[in-house]
Amino acid sequence: MSNPTDSVRPLTLMRITVRNLTARPMRTLLTAIGVSVGVVAIVAMKSITDGAWRSINNTIALGQSELLVFQGGVAADILSVLDEKAVGERLERTRGVAKAVGVLAHPMPVESQPFMAVYGVRIPNMTLLEDNVIEGRLPQSDDEVLAGAVALRALDRKIGDTIDLQGQDYTLVGVARCGAVFLDGALFASLPRVQEIAGRKGQVTLFQVVTEPGANVGELVERIDAENKDLTAIADASDYNKVDPGLDIAQGMIWGVSIIAILIGALIVMNTMWMSVLERTRQIGVLRAVGWPRRAVTRLILMESLGVGLVSCVLGVLGGVGLAELVSVMPVTKQFIDPAFKPGTFVIALLIAGALSVVGALAPAWRAAKVSPAEALRYE
């Protein structure tokens, strides 16, 4: 015969924790929101920079390309200026290089868009994008352009329409998706035409380098750098700071902002838990009086704080993902931002929320454990 108490769940520390947190739902929620600000910042910013790294790697790997070559010693990739013919020939003479495709990057206003990247590529070299065309075809003449999928939406055009570039109409013949927001938010036009628009005749910004079969990419990068003091070769996004420290700077700012947000979060937790311990001094005294050791009281306070941290983590991840997605669809930024949500980001969010919950609860937990039961029972 079943006992009527069989269905009753026994009291546990976890159960007391949940009861204490849900007994003051607004305070728990407000504290969690305060703590989640730091998590939101970390998740959003890290997802955005991870997206940028992914875009760089996908740009490097465009078509058969395996590395990019820029002018050495520049402060930003867009400032790189290379002689298309001279540098191109020099690169193609390098052992391991099958082909060097010059690309001129020129940001400019395009119709309704105040800022859009236009890449100039010689028409025969457009085959570099062959595998990425999702609609239409590659340009076959200087009067035709290819649009990245994001740029197409931004310009609200369809294949066969014309696009005005600095007063001259170009026919849109195809759409490409490259998995790199810098490319998907751009237009691809004939190199001579873009050089003319930019006033940079004979110049390119970078070379996409296709290697010979079996070539060791790492050794090739070292060889290009060693043999050409005026060039910098990049085979992975992690080396991109050689031509543009922007991402590194952004990453530094992310951690700076995040540390401030984390400190504020820890103070919020500390304040809430301190108040909670003060309010419950008498209850803590009762628990001590009935034989709870100090460490059990400490554990209870830390578990409550971790509970707040868990809620903060959930709110922070949701908020961070939402914020990154919002930024990626805003008209001003959608051509440059395509967040990547990696599992590691969420693990970091969980660890940070947990760590600041514990750090914030240390002082209150210490106070709770230190209180003498006799004094606590007298506490009004």
């Binding site: 026994p10 009861r19 050791p293």
Partner: protein, 242 residues
């Protein structure tokens, strides 16, 4: 709200009851002062309590009754003197041993029931048992039995704010009995109750004491309560007086 307290039924309920479990309490020249000795809450108390006795400690407010009870319960430490309970000198116990003493030897009933407001009656009674080796199922079973014994079998899941004053005090009594204490101490247990409910609570405590043979020490300044004790100790200015 049903405030009926079946003290007699509880008294005849012999399940899980061990007789003659009371402990002897011996204090010699026990002192507890505050504020650099300006306040002499307990000032040289000497007493002997035999196992199973019901002792009432009486006296006006501020005479040191509650401080003495705190010392006996192990929730405060004396500055000097000797205090032996169940052949253990409390001054010699370290922190962990004192926790264990409070947990396993003592059952405490406060004037203000001091129940945890977020927890149900059943959960409140389990709080002292959480720190023992009992399994979750054993805790629930024992807490249910105790609440049934104090006449609250029908209020297991009610939180303190849904219980009457008398019911809360009965939950507090059940909680005090959770770990089968050998020394039951009550600080003005009827102080916040009306006379009828207070009398019922006393009936219950006396019945439990009689059936389980535990030592019962009760602080009170109610002469009617004191009259029910085996022995009455009067306190004034931190000392016992005739």
């Amino acid at each position: 709200m049903n405030d009926h307290m079946p003290a007699r039924d509880a008294a005849t309920d012999t399940r899980d009851i061990e007789h003659n479990r009371g402990v002897a309490v011996t204090a010699r020249d026990l002192k507890r002062h505050y504020e650099d000795g300006r306040i002499r809450a307990v000032d040289g108390v000497t007493l002997d309590i035999r196992p199973g006795n019901f002792v009432a400690i009486c006296g006006p407010s501020g005479c040191g009754k509650s401080t003495l009870l705190n010392l006996l319960a192990g929730i405060d430490r004396a500055e000097s003197g000797s205090l032996r309970v169940a052949d253990r000198e409390l001054a010699e116990l370290d922190e962990t041993e004192l926790d264990e003493y409070r947990r396993s030897t003592v059952g405490l009933i406060f004037q203000l029931h001091n129940l945890l407001p977020e927890l149900s009656a059943l959960e409140n009674v389990q709080t002292p048992m959480l720190m023992t080796a009992l399994s979750g199922r054993e805790r629930v079973t024992r807490a249910t039995e105790l609440l049934e014994r104090v006449g609250l079998g029908h209020r297991l899941h009610a939180t303190p704010n849904r219980l009457s004053g008398g019911e809360r005090q009965r939950v507090a009594i059940a909680r005090a009995l959770a770990n089968r204490p050998r020394l039951l101490m009550a600080d003005e247990p009827t102080g916040s109750l009306d006379s009828q409910t207070g009398a019922q609570a006393l009936d219950l405590l006396e019945a439990l004491r009689r059936d389980q043979g535990v030592t019962l020490i009760m602080v009170t300044h109610d002469p009617n309560v004191a009259a029910r004790a085996d022995r009455v100790l009067n306190m004034l200015d931190g000392r016992f007086v005739d």
